[in-house]
Amino acid sequence: MSELAIELSQVTKRFGPKVAVNAVSLSIPLGQVYGLIGPNGAGKTTAFSMMCGFLHPTSGTLKVMGVAPTTPGALKGKLGALPQDAILPPGWEIGELLTYWARLSGLPQPEREAREALDRVGLTENWFTPTEALSHGMAKRTAMAQALMGKPPLVLLDEPTAGLDPRIAAQVRQLIRDMKGQQTVVVSSHNLQELEELCDGAAILDRGSLVKAGTMSELTGLGAEFRVQIARGDVIPPELTQLPGVTSARMESPTVLLVRFDGQAHKPEEVISRTVAHLLQTGVLILGVTRGQRLEDRVLQIL
């Protein structure tokens, strides 16, 4: 198997005249926690649904864990997924439902798997609760539990914390953190702070197209830019661009200096130290230095 968990090549999905996903090419390496970012209607859920094999791409090719996801039974045991808008079927108690699904997945101890999964999402006491009686949050946690059963190598989570209260959302984030390094996790979310904290990499989608993809460090510019908050003094940006590694420098606002540098060839600490030293030598007083940019700011800037 390749080192990629998911590979999209020029994937397009149309619903009638509407293009939901437009020629997206994307690779998600094995073992990463990867984010799908974008505003409403960006194509995140459509892309997610194609990765799970729920939707057929109109054109292009997809491979998930080395196979086409729409091939019947190909992803059994390899993929756990939390679909955003799938309703839990009525007429079941959740313990019984999860045991049924665990049995269908071919897990060796279905009831134990179901109990452990419910335990992980804090629903141990709700074994006998009918699916019709679940609140939105409980239904989401039940759906999350089914995605975790059997510890599949790839887990896709569409908006896992949407609609959850802060305490439960924190539990879910912890679950994702726990999976880090052991399973590949793809998370789609509007909560950019959450994604910045959890993800190793991310793809930004807008109106169906891939706008940017990369490691979180690349996206936030952690290894390529920093900002200096100026307290007093005159900054002369052209002088800074003469420093080794600095590729550009400009005043982003009257008190914030933005410096970009070649992160491949120069270590951030060296470039930052040289820049700060130069500023101090020229009589500029500084209040602080921050590396990169918050993901939220970056996304707002891009979109």
Partner: protein
């Protein structure tokens, strides 16, 4: 595990779980009750039409053939069975596609397993229901005709039961097919009803144009056309009808699978 064995295991798991759920569901119980009552009313009506009353024991020689009352109830039941099957299963697939709960299943099982598991679940319910009702009808026949021998009763019970099953499986498959076509269960129901009605019209038109026009061949396309030979004492005639129903079952299930494979879930 080899793919075929895994597929069979999936079918068994879906069938057993869905059957348990269906047996607990109020709708199934209500429909079973209604069908049983409908059969009872039919039995009483046909019994009354045929003269009713109980034959005096010893007045007639042993009865080896199917009593007319049973044959009458069988024919009336067969006429309405497609509608009953439709009401029982019109949302078996569309209900899952519409709510997208099918996505939880397709992550774990093949679509073919889902279809066959659901089909077998519906078939199992019918097997049980038809048996219960047939036993009831035959007990009545035995009461009304004390000269109806036990052996003849048992043999005819099996025959009627098998005939009803062969017939109804094709309509369960038709319902599965219609349910696979739409996301909205209501549309599946209406389309299913239209097909049942259409098949009936095709049979009637075929019979009407017999020897008059090419339209006479329409009747061969209607499943209901083949029901007349289901109780035939000639094995080859029953066999031909059975084969026709098996073909319709295969055709409808194949169609349902092709639709589900091609569509977005």
């Amino acid at each position: 595990m080899p793919a075929t064995l895994d597929g069979l295991k999936e079918i068994a798991v879906i069938w057993s779980a869905e059957t348990l759920r269906a047996m607990r569901s109020a709708r199934t119980l209500v429909l079973l009750g209604l069908y049983a009552m409908f059969s009872l009313v039919t039995l009483l009506a046909i019994g009354a039409l045929l003269g009713g009353g109980r034959v005096s024991p010893g007045a007639l020689p042993d009865l080896e053939q199917l009593p007319p009352v049973v044959e009458g109830v069988f024919k009336v039941n067969l006429f309405f069975l497609p509608v009953y099957v439709m009401l029982m299963g019109f949302d078996q697939i569309s209900g899952e596609v519409g709510s997208r709960s099918i996505r939880y299943i397709t992550l774990r099982a093949r679509l073919s397993s889902l279809l066959l598991g659901k089909f077998l679940m519906q078939a199992s319910l019918l097997v049980g229901l038809v048996l219960v009702i047939d036993v009831g009808i035959f007990l009545y026949a035995r009461y009304a005709h004390p000269n109806f021998t036990l052996l003849a009763m048992a043999l005819n019970l099996v025959k009627v039961w098998l005939a009803t099953l062969v017939f109804s499986l094709a309509y369960v498959a038709l319902t599965t097919f219609c349910s696979s076509l739409f996301r909205a269960s209501g549309l599946s129901l209406v389309f299913n009803f239209c097909l049942i009605f259409g098949f009936l019209l095709m049979e009637l038109a075929g019979r009407y144009y017999q020897g008059k026009s090419l339209l006479e061949y329409l009747r061969f396309l209607s499943p209901s056309y083949y029901s007349s030979n289901l109780l035939s004492p000639v094995l080859s005639e029953f066999g031909r009808s059975g084969l026709a129903y098996a073909s319709f079952t295969g055709l409808f299930l194949g169609g349902a699978y092709a639709v589900l494979r091609a569509r977005d879930l």
